[in-house]
């Protein structure tokens, strides 16, 4: 069954919004020619590099990157973000400050580059039988342990029996071993969006399997309407 993502009409804006003065300066500079253009591109690259350095530092601890590697990721991310921005600038609709729109590409590039670096430092598996650890994750208050163990046993069976090999691999890597989605995507020769769709489908199958086995989910909070 295909993934059923809800159409994102609620997220899309149909028209261009009024552009603020500073954003217009950026747009004018990038669309100019000669020295003004060159100065604007240089200023933007310097800004993107600053943002990239901040972002890789923010994420460094979780990915165990240090010093030269961080700077390498920041440099590459800012270079590639600048290229993306210049090629996509016609798509800027003015529905945010220009800088916020531009920084989005830095985040994307940092994620991609850090996914590439992930496997150099971590040995988390995408394939090991990591769900053997599930009952430990579920250990909570003593009076709930039996209940938890039953549910996690049902989940382990569902992972083993109801998921496709690709769904098993992605679910184990992302949900159990906490491998970054971009690192999984790189390993699979795919992209984040496609990996997430596999994960989304796997989760739905597992929820259904648990429901069939008699384990009802709690009432969901707001924001998850049909």
């Amino acid at each position: 069954m295909p993934i059923e993502y809800r159409a994102v009409a609620d997220t899309a804006r149909s028209g261009a919004a009024a552009t603020d003065t500073t954003s217009q300066l950026w747009l004018d500079g990038l669309r100019a020619s000669g020295r003004e253009h060159d100065q604007c591109v240089a200023a933007l690259h310097a800004l993107l590099l600053r943002v990239a350095r901040y972002e890789v530092s923010r994420r460094a601890e979780s990915l165990q990157l240090r010093g030269p590697e961080l700077e390498d990721v920041a440099q590459q991310a800012s270079d590639d973000a600048l290229m993306a921005i210049r090629s996509k600038i016609a798509g800027f609709r003015g529905d945010s400050r220009f800088t916020t729109w531009a920084y989005k590409f830095v985040m994307f590039e940092v994620s991609t580059k850090m996914g590439r670096h992930f496997w150099r430092h971590r040995h988390a598996s995408m394939d090991a039988d990591s769900w053997e650890r599930l009952p430990d994750r579920g250990a909570a208050a003593p009076d709930q342990r039996t209940e938890h163990r039953e549910i996690f046993e049902a989940l382990r069976r569902a992972i083993d029996q109801d998921l496709t090999p690709l769904q098993q691999r992605v679910f184990v890597a992302v949900a159990l071993n906490e491998v970054p989605m971009d690192a999984v995507a790189r390993e699979l020769g795919s992209n984040r969006n496609s990996v997430y769709k596999v994960l989304f489908d796997a989760r739905r199958k597992l929820r259904e399997s648990l429901r069939t086995a008699g384990y009802e989910r709690p009432t969901q909070s707001s924001g998850s309407a049909a």
Partner: protein, 79 residues
């Protein structure tokens, strides 16, 4: 029987999930709305649901929110 919290974390049930690509397309406006005091989850529930379920996009969202707050007013030609 209610399922334990760990199951909820492993198997979030977001039926309005917008997905990675569609969320990325509007992440800048989502962040700007939040920084201006609005609640983007009201107007963009698919993105809010996705951010809560996708660790990778949640990191991008957090990074973008911080960057926009810290460096959002930068100008191309400082006066």
């Amino acid at each position: 029987m209610r399922s334990p919290r760990d199951i909820d974390a492993l198997l979030p049930d977001n039926t309005v999930d917008a997905g990675c690509a569609a969320s990325f397309d509007v992440l800048h406006s989502y962040v700007e709305q939040e920084l201006s005091g609005g609640d983007p989850a009201d107007s963009q529930p698919g993105v809010a649901a996705h951010i809560s379920s996708c660790r990778a996009c949640r990191e991008d969202y957090r990074g973008l929110r911080d960057a926009a707050a810290l460096f959002g007013d930068a100008e191309p030609f400082p006066s």
